[in-house]
Subunit: 330 residues, 2 copies
């Protein structure tokens, strides 16, 4: 199938490589704001791919050359940062899959923007979807699918413990490597620390399960180094921050329904993805080592661009897909 | 939502109970061939449910009273046994979800019947779907979803090891409890032993992954008791059969792509559902203890009846749903 890619950072480039290796895709348009890439071909910009497609700066010019072609957006994490891009794409009648974390379930945090995108997408007859590994899969969609086997569900707990020792510099920085506890806490107070999208996963699960999320409790604590840790980018001393322990609790009335625990640290004792369903029957699932982040985000977005034209028009979430899962009726 | 149920055996009755407890469902029609149930109300026939809906023997009479209402079919395992029922339901314009094992992916084994159902369903504008825990979820759909995080997939292995010690009599009998090895092998030679639907799971995974299944190798071996086993229904002596080890290998050319291993025995050392993906990145998932069979089949069928009207008309499989998964392009 033909697709277009907006955003040629590490994730966008990786997506183009995966599409080439997997087969079945042709990247017919590529857009990036970086003026250094403008006019160069994908084969020059992205290692190992054969496509001559030129990278362009002007989104509208690319769109008009490929009407209706599905678009992958790999740019920013926050919804307001991508509103213009999404609006332009939808205006021109393109179905969109984006890894923008806050787009995974924007209805609660951004009701006005969500309605706006939804109405425009319905009017234009295209679907717009936010996805990725987290949010979009590991801590929401996959646990949601597992609830399909349960008929009386009380509570969902999801643990994602990821080791960042061998990961990219931006990630090691993002989790606070080398900060003091005071620096960490200041950053968290300004919400400059923590994983964007964790709250969205809780909303997504609530939506799937038919639970009303009345209240969210969120916390992010530093994980401290007990001994020296030396990565390719950071030297962390004992007592300094080596990662985050970010938790979200979603309540329905006074009842806790969802508990999400994301630990991302340079060193983690038992890295894994784990789901614990309390209900009838109870269920536990473990992926030892855990699902690797960046490649999974790319692959999941490719999985969804392949089927985006089968989804009903509008702003969709991974929680709206026609799949089996528990759902409390009224 | 309103639904109708065809087949009030143990699974059909359980489904009605779960619908009541979960909420959001109303069973407005119920059909069973058993003359003893005819004319009685669901509240008399199914423990714990409040519905007055009468159980009827005449399928067409029930259908005409509730045009277009989705129908759950819990009757037989083999496709030819349900062709008449499915055809009648589709003729009358009802979407259908059935736990008929061979309906999970009937295209290879029953191409003529599949085309027939597909064409009729398209003409009538309804979707028809086979689902359940196995086939339909544990050994095909769920492993398929997990491949979403992989971009170069070589092989899928699925292990489902289930302990039958506390299960129903028909299941303990079905796995050969108390047979001699010779009796077991005779039965397997006549294909009266083994799990209906295991081959269908392999076809389903091949379909999802974009792999051509050129050849299937199937084997079913007895699991023997090493000491006395006394269940509520069987006394199995050392050397007698206490279960099955049923395996399916699917090849693309000479290359094994899928390995499915189903062990169902009275005593099993490490009961679990396990998926092993060989690819980039590799992945392993475990559900310790495994997904319980009967309740999961019921819950999954309820999960799908809830969304059956969102699926495109025709004969659908769990492998056609718009979800993320690996797919090799051409």
């Amino acid at each position: 199938m033909d697709v277009m890619v907006v955003g040629l950072g590490p994730i966008g480039q990786r997506a183009i490589q995966h599409m080439h290796r997997m087969g079945g895709f042709r990247v017919v348009g590529a857009v990036d704001i970086n003026p250094e890439l403008a006019g160069r071909s994908l084969r020059e910009v992205v290692k190992g791919v054969p496509w001559d497609t030129p990278v362009q700066q002007d989104l509208e010019a690319v769109l008009s050359a490929h009407p209706g072609t599905p678009v992958l957006v790999y740019t920013r994490s926050h919804l307001p940062e991508v509103m213009d891009t999404l609006t332009t794409l939808i205006q021109h009648g393109h179905p969109v899959v984006s890894t923008t974390e806050e787009l995974a379930d924007p209805w609660t945090r951004y009701p006005r923007e969500s309605r706006q995108l939804d109405e425009l997408a319905r009017a234009k007859g295209v679907a717009v979807l936010g996805t990725g590994v987290n949010p979009g899969f590991a801590m929401d969609f996959l646990p949601g699918i597992l609830t399909a086997v349960v008929h009386e569900l009380e509570h969902i707990a999801v643990y994602r413990h990821q080791e960042a020792f061998h990961r990219r510099y931006p990630l090691q920085k993002k989790i606070g490597s080398g900060l003091t506890v005071a620096e960490f806490e200041e950053k968290w107070a300004r919400r400059e620390m923590g994983h964007v999208g964790l709250v969205e996963s809780a909303y997504l699960l609530g939506r799937m399960m038919g639970w009303k999320v009345d209240r969210i409790e969120e916390d992010c604590r530093p994980v401290l180094a007990e001994e020296d840790i030396q990565t390719a980018y950071f030297h962390v001393r004992p007592g300094q921050v080596q990662g985050i322990l970010h938790t979200v609790r979603a309540y329905e009335g006074d009842r806790e329904r969802v508990y999400l625990e994301l630990q991302m640290a340079l060193r983690v004792p038992d890295p894994r993805d784990e789901v614990v369903l309390k209900g009838e029957p109870p269920l536990r699932m473990v992926i030892p080592g855990g699902i690797p982040g960046d490649p999974a985000t790319v692959n999941i977005s490719l999985g969804m661009i392949r089927v985006i034209q089968e989804l009903p028009p509008g702003l969709r979430t991974m929680g709206d897909l026609p799949v089996p899962h528990y759902r409390r009726g009224s």
